[in-house]
């Protein structure tokens, strides 16, 4: 018995050593479009979760270089695509596993590639609505604008979540940015909260200004998807944690590199949400925020 246990221990040690040496010899090329802090945080999170050697390729710093050719020269064991731009470039590579992160709508460019897995920037709509209700329990009707081709999927999820939670969702489709001011004006008096979706048609510098003014003028708080808008005047946001997404992706990479999930694509949402609240806006709008949610949130003053 003791002898068998000793043999098992030796086997496990050898197995660990073999695995460790295999990771130590593997290389991951991290491709990212630009060098911005959220991306850096995500890569750092990835590195913390995955022990493989990571080589960085910043597209904006490799002017005129074909990233695919460059990757083919390197022949890494895995590609880490940080952001939509990086993913859209490495999508042509079919024989190397790709992990993406910091991508909002990966489905918009993916078409069932087997070698591509990743973590999107989506936070489940239900989670967002529940967080909203924790902060603003009196919310009955939530309004949102969406462009079908951009955030139609999210709007659908939102509707489902609202139905699940039991609040009314007033989702209005816009066809162009020019429709936004009028569409949001039409919601005046009909909604308690305006839910801002990450839609490039709806959210532009001009419309965000208008939306924020609309919020202040009509005392309608805004639930945003990024702390950036909370700083500009939205009441609160339920956003992503880039470092945690990196860890999430790193864990996924670890599984793939260990050979357990090779060519078995996985697409998951961000698991961690970061709540940010602008107390000044809350005060201006005359909205009391529950202390419990304040303690969990990042406070913007």
């Amino acid at each position: 018995m003791l002898r068998n246990l000793f043999r098992l221990l030796i086997f496990l040690i050898l197995l660990t050593l073999c695995q460790g040496s295999a990771w130590a010899g593997q290389e991951i090329v991290a491709v990212q479009s630009i060098r911005i802090q959220p991306y850096e945080d995500a890569v750092q999170g990835f590195e913390s979760a995955c022990g493989a050697k990571i080589k960085r390729l910043i597209i904006s710093e490799l002017k005129g270089t074909d990233i695919v050719e460059k990757i083919n020269e390197i022949r890494p064991d895995m590609i880490l695509a940080v952001g939509l731009d990086a993913l859209s470039r490495v999508i042509r590579i079919k024989d190397i596993p790709v992990i993406y992160l910091m991508v909002l709508h990966p489905q918009s460019i993916l078409s069932g590639e087997k070698n591509i897995s990743g973590v999107s920037m989506d936070i489940p709509q239900e989670k967002q609505l529940r967080t909203l209700l924790d902060a603003l329990p009196r919310t009955k009707t939530v309004g949102l604008l969406y462009a079908q081709e951009k955030t139609g999927r999210l709007a659908k999820k939102a509707r489902e979540a609202a139905r699940e939670i039991g609040i009314k969702l007033l989702a209005k489709e816009v066809h162009s940015t020019r429709d936004v001011p009028q569409s949001i004006q039409d919601m005046k008096g009909k909604i308690d909260v305006f839910w801002m979706l990450p839609d490039l048609t709806v959210i532009t510098p001009e419309t965000i200004e208008f939306v924020l003014l609309f919020s202040l003028e009509n005392k309608i708080p805004i639930l945003a998807f990024s702390e950036k808008y909370v700083e500009l005047g939205a009441l609160m946001s339920v956003g992503i944690d880039a470092f945690d997404i990196g860890i999430q992706a790193g864990e996924m990479a670890e599984k793939i590199l260990s050979g357990r999930d090779i060519m078995n694509a996985q697409h998951v949402d961000a698991r961690k949400a970061v709540i940010s609240i602008n107390l000044k806006v809350a005060k201006t709008l005359g909205i009391p925020i529950d202390e419990k949610i304040i303690r969990k949130a990042r406070i913007i003053n």
Binding site: I36, H105, T177, R178, P181, D199, T204, E206, G239
Partner: protein, 634 residues
């Protein structure tokens, strides 16, 4: 008129200074006013443009959403807000294609000209320029100004990352999506500029007037005491005295007045001293015992004192109308021109002149002439003394001297004649007697030879020989004495032979080496002159032996038709100048006297260490002229 103005300007310091300052103030005022108006007009225009651009920019910014969404309702507030601004007549907002999205205007714009309003083509051109430069534009018309500003949007999304993150790298590129245009009333600016112009000109004119008044006061303040001072100077110049100028200030004018007072005081003192000096001079001039007259440089008598007038037999009034020509004898006047030149050159001289008395007789004067200056002009001052008496005495002395010289000459002649006679007598009589005695002694010796007593014979013959020798010695002495008294050779063979004989005799007796250079041609001099030259020659040789310490003597005799020159040169120590002039040098005096008797002269020169040269020059022609004159004057 122009000349008069220039004359007034040239002569009137007050007007000159006043006009200068007025012109300066005018220039400064006009320059400053022009510059101020220019700057203010530019500032106002710039301010208008800046304000217009700002309003257009604000309108463009506020119109972004409205232009982006082409929502006229959203543009309404922004346009209305800008239209409320003062001076804004019209507000228009266009999309990128130039389509008018919103336009608001004030009613008064319809009354203004629309020169600046563009047709579609020119508007499109303006829009193209704004798109190209992405900067506002300003179009200035006669009564309105249009300000165009691009409506800029950041709508070019960098990507979905920009939705989440605020990093600079995610900022989007600016893009022109439309245009905001406002029209401003330029009349406001024109009105402000006109107001400014009027105010500035008013201030300029006020400054000019104040400047004129201050300048006038200052110039008057300066020139008033100056004019007073000028008046005082004029009075001082005319009267010669003036009351003290009041010193009211301590500035330059006060210092000038102080200096003027000091100058007046000093001049007064000097004038008093000058007057006293002139009075003293006048007293001296009029009361001087010597005659004084003042000549102009052209020879006219300017002033004359009593003594001078009295000497010439005229009154002072008469003489003041005369000239030098009227006073001088013709011989004296001939020299006036040359003397006047020397006097005018600054030479002071004392000379003798002859003037004609009023009654016609000639008066000798000794005149001291000098150049004087009076009132800036040159005059010749002549101080003259009547030397008639002195001349008479001089003539008497001269005559006496001539008589003495004639007497001395006569004495010399007589002496020579006496010496000649004595020499001849000694030579002939005493020589003949001695010769006879010698013959007699010869006979006696012959007779003594016949004496048989040998002792007696021998003694007698010896005595006879001694006598014979004594006689020979005596004969020799007699000949020498006779020769010394009067060398016969001078009378027999002439001066040249006599000089040569005398020189050889001198060499033999003194041991001083001698050379004689006779004239190339024979000369013929009368006996007296030959005697005089011979005696001078003898005296010169005596001086050589006695005083020179010479070792050699060189003698030259030259003669031509006009003159004879005898030169005795030794190589001794050289005669001293003091001895030449000493009254104790009787030898030299005698030599001079002898030479002068024949109209000649002696020059003795001595160079220390080199020797002494005595040159005797006698001109027979001159002597003849003197003799002729003596004969003529009796």
């Amino acid at each position: 008129m122009r000349l008069n103005l220039l004359k007034v300007l040239n002569e009137n310091f007050r007007i000159k200074i006043f006009i200068t300052f007025v012109l300066l103030i005018f220039f400064i005022t006009v320059s400053f006013t022009s510059f101020f108006i220019y700057r203010q007009t530019k500032n106002l225009t710039d301010a208008l443009i800046k304000k217009g651009n700002l309003l257009a920019g604000v309108l463009a910014f506020n119109s972004r959403i409205g232009v982006f969404s082409e929502n006229k309702e959203l543009l309404d507030v922004a346009a209305e807000g800008i239209l409320q601004q003062e001076g804004v007549l019209e507000v228009s907002i266009f999309n990128l294609e130039g389509k008018l999205l919103k336009s608001k205007e004030r009613p008064e714009i319809r009354t203004l000209e629309k020169s600046i309003r563009r047709d579609e083509e020119s508007r499109r051109k303006t829009i193209e320029e704004i798109i190209e430069t992405v900067s506002p534009r300003c179009l200035v018309g006669n009564s309105v100004v249009e300000f165009w500003s691009p409506v800029i949007s950041d709508s070019d999304s960098y990507g979905e990352a920009s939705l989440f993150f605020k990093e600079d790298l995610l900022r989007r590129k600016a893009k022109v999506i439309g245009f905001a245009m406002i029209t401003e009333d330029r009349r406001t600016l024109d009105k402000e500029i006109n107001d400014l112009l009027v105010k500035t000109i008013f201030i300029g004119i006020t400054f000019l007037i104040i400047g004129f008044v201050i300048t006038y006061r200052v110039v008057k303040g300066i020139t008033k005491p100056l004019n007073k001072l000028i008046e005082s100077v004029k009075i001082f110049g005319t009267v010669g005295t003036v009351e003290k100028f009041p010193i009211e200030t301590e500035d330059e004018i006060g210092k000038l007045a102080m200096a003027f007072n000091d100058m007046a005081e000093s001049l007064k003192r000097r004038e008093g001293a000058l007057r006293e000096s002139e009075e003293r001079y006048r007293t001296l001039f009029t009361q001087a015992s010597e005659g004084i007259f003042i000549l102009s440089v052209d020879g006219k008598l300017v002033d004359v004192n009593e003594s001078s007038a009295r000497m010439h037999g005229y009154s002072t009034q008469e003489m003041r109308h005369m000239s030098l020509k009227d006073l001088d004898t013709p011989e004296t006047f001939q020299l006036v021109s040359e003397r006047m030149h020397r006097v005018l050159a600054g030479e002071a001289m004392t000379l003798e002149v002859k003037h004609c008395h009023k009654d016609g007789h000639v008066l000798p004067f000794e005149v001291s002439v000098s150049l004087i200056s009076y009132s800036g002009e040159s005059y010749v001052q002549c101080v003259h003394r009547d030397i008639t008496e002195r001349k008479r005495w001089e003539e008497m002395i001269q005559a006496s001297r001539e008589q003495m010289r004639a007497l001395a000459g006569r004495l010399q002649t007589v002496r020579e004649e006496e010496r000649t006679d004595i020499a001849r007598e000694i030579h002939d009589e005493l020589g003949g007697a001695l010769t006879g005695m010698k013959v007699d002694v010869s006979f006696l010796i012959k007779s003594a030879l016949k004496i048989e007593n040998e002792a007696a014979r021998t003694s007698l013959i010896a005595g006879m020989d001694s006598v014979t020798k004594s006689i020979d010695t005596t004969i020799h002495s007699v000949r020498r004495i006779a020769m010394e008294l009067r060398p016969g050779i001078l009378d027999d063979l002439g001066l040249v032979a006599a000089l040569e004989w005398q020189l050889k005799d001198f060499e033999k007796r003194s041991g001083i080496r001698s050379e004689f250079f006779p004239p190339v041609e024979d000369i013929s001099l009368d006996a007296d002159l030959s005697t005089a030259l011979f005696r001078i020659f003898q005296e010169a040789l005596t001086n050589v032996v006695r005083h020179s310490g010479a070792t050699a003597v060189r003698v030259r005799l030259r003669a031509d038709a006009d003159s004879s020159t005898l030169e005795v040169e030794d190589n001794g120590k050289g005669i001293e100048k003091e001895k030449l002039l000493s009254l104790e040098s009787l030898g030299l005096l005698g030599m001079r006297e002898r030479a002068q008797m024949f109209g000649g002269r002696i020059t003795v020169t001595g160079t220390p260490g080199i020797g002494t040269t005595v040159v005797v020059e006698i001109s027979p022609e001159k002597r003849q002229r003197d003799r002729d004159q003596e004969g003529a004057t009796g």
